[in-house]
């Protein structure tokens, strides 16, 4: 019985998987066969097909990461959609390491002293009162 179900199911599953992967494998062909500006620009940068697939997958990755970082799931879709391919790839690879503008000092006392000196020397600008 199980074997019979499997025999029916596996061709269907294979077909579904193949069809599902097609939109990625086949490059989108714009109306009338015109070459889009984005295609021409990425060709200029010699972007390979593998990289293009990577950027498609990167968006899913960024989506998951943003949710994990506490971004409202209702906002995530629109945030990811507004990224360029290169930005999405950058976010997917290094969201943890990217500098995040926040400007709050959470430093230890030793660091405080060093920064105070460098602030007075005009190398840093952590403490407003050093001006």
């Amino acid at each position: 019985m199980m074997k019979k179900i499997c025999r029916f199911l596996s061709p269907l599953l294979i077909a579904a998987l193949v069809l599902g992967s097609l939109p990625v494998a086949a490059a989108p062909s714009p109306a009338g066969g015109m070459i889009t500006t984005q295609d021409a620009l990425s060709a200029e940068r010699a972007q390979s097909d593998r990289e293009r697939i990577h950027t498609v997958l990167a968006r899913d990755d960024v989506r998951d990461q943003l949710v994990a970082q506490g971004v409202d799931p209702a906002e995530v879709e629109a945030r990811v959609a507004a990224l360029s391919d290169a930005e999405a790839a950058q976010m997917a690879d290094q969201l943890e390491e990217l500098p995040a503008g926040a400007s709050v000092v959470g430093a230890l006392f030793a660091v405080f002293v060093i920064l105070l000196v460098t602030d007075i020397l005009g190398l840093t600008n952590v403490f407003p009162f050093t001006r």
Partner: protein, 324 residues
């Protein structure tokens, strides 16, 4: 109190002065690295000696939220109706307690403005301010080992006093000398961008960087939104074939066939080896039912070796098949 130094072995007696000396040397070295920024003579002559964009609204940041505050200031200055509370969920990442650079740019796109990352030089920054564009800058207020990343909006400068004027943190029109400003800005690799309406271009942008910025905007907002930007770019750089090519594509999407044809013609006039422009010119001419001209353009495309040659041959065969 016991006088410590006298009770120490002789070998350690010089440790403290040596340490102090090392510290002083290290600080001198650091100070040497961060020499005062220099401006090109041409910039000094080209820009006004003093600029203050006092029509840029100020929003003081709340905890960690210099990113949304900086965006609100620049976007509102350019006429976008938005506020800090709308922008926080769009750009702030709670897990990182901050806003990352790619999302700062992406959020500008969501509000229908084009983010142009400008060249990381004080000259470029001052030239943009002189042109009336407020500039969002990223600074590391601290040292590389304990970064304190911060976004601020540069709104002016004073060449004689060598000072920048910024809306920064809780302080409107904060004055920072060029030297500490440049030292903190340099630690973000002098990252800075302007947010402009489609049709406006930065004063200092390279054609390549502008193509990328407008192309990314077009990818998010569509060709018709980007059309004025392509028009402006091809006017600014009439010799740049890709600018005309992109304009042709945007016009074609906006159903302006004759306009597209003329832009593609400008593209191949600027660079006769740009195969995509010949191919799109041929297809546009074919749509306009100008067969002979279409065939001529497609033949030029098919004769150029490279990535698009196969597609050009296919298009040529298709149009030839139709006309016979």
């Amino acid at each position: 109190m016991i006088d410590c130094p006298e009770r120490q072995p002789t070998s350690d007696r010089n440790a403290r002065p040596a340490g102090v000396l090392a510290l002083v040397l290290m600080l001198l070295l650091l100070a040497g690295c961060a020499s005062a920024p220099r401006l090109d003579d041409t910039t000094q002559q080209a820009v006004a000696p003093r600029v203050l964009l006092d029509d840029v609204p100020f929003h003081g940041q709340r905890d960690y939220q210099c990113g949304p505050a900086s965006l609100a200031m620049t976007l509102q200055h350019d006429g976008v109706e938005t506020d800090v509370d709308t922008l926080i969920p769009q750009v702030f990442t709670p897990g990182r307690e901050g806003s990352v650079q790619p999302e700062m740019l992406a959020t500008v796109r969501r509000h229908g403005r084009i983010p142009f990352v400008i060249e990381g030089r004080l000259d470029a920054l001052l030239t943009e301010l002189d042109a009336g564009h407020p500039v969002v800058v990223m600074q590391n207020l601290s040292l590389p080992a304990w970064p304190v990343w911060h976004y601020a909006v540069a709104i002016g400068y004073d060449l004689e006093a060598r000072e920048m004027i910024l809306h920064s943190g809780m302080e409107a029109q904060r004055v920072e000398s060029f030297r500490p400003f440049d030292a903190t800005w340099a630690r973000s690799d002098r990252w800075a961008f302007v947010a402009l309406s489609p049709g406006q271009l930065p004063a200092t942008i390279s054609p390549q960087a502008a193509l990328q910025a407008i192309g990314d905007f077009e990818g998010v907002r569509g060709a018709e939104a980007a059309l004025p930007a392509w028009e402006a770019l091809s006017r600014r750089f009439p010799d740049h074939a890709m600018a005309h090519f992109a304009l042709g594509n945007a016009r074609h999407t906006a159903a302006d066939l004759e306009g597209a044809i003329s832009a593609f013609r400008d593209a191949v006039a600027a660079d006769a080896t740009l195969a995509p422009a010949w191919l799109n010119l041929g297809l546009a001419l074919d749509s306009a039912e100008r067969r002979d001209e279409a065939l001529e353009a497609l033949e030029r495309a098919a004769a150029l070796p490279g990535r698009w040659q196969e597609r050009s041959h296919e298009a040529l065969a298709r149009v030839e098949g139709k006309s016979s």
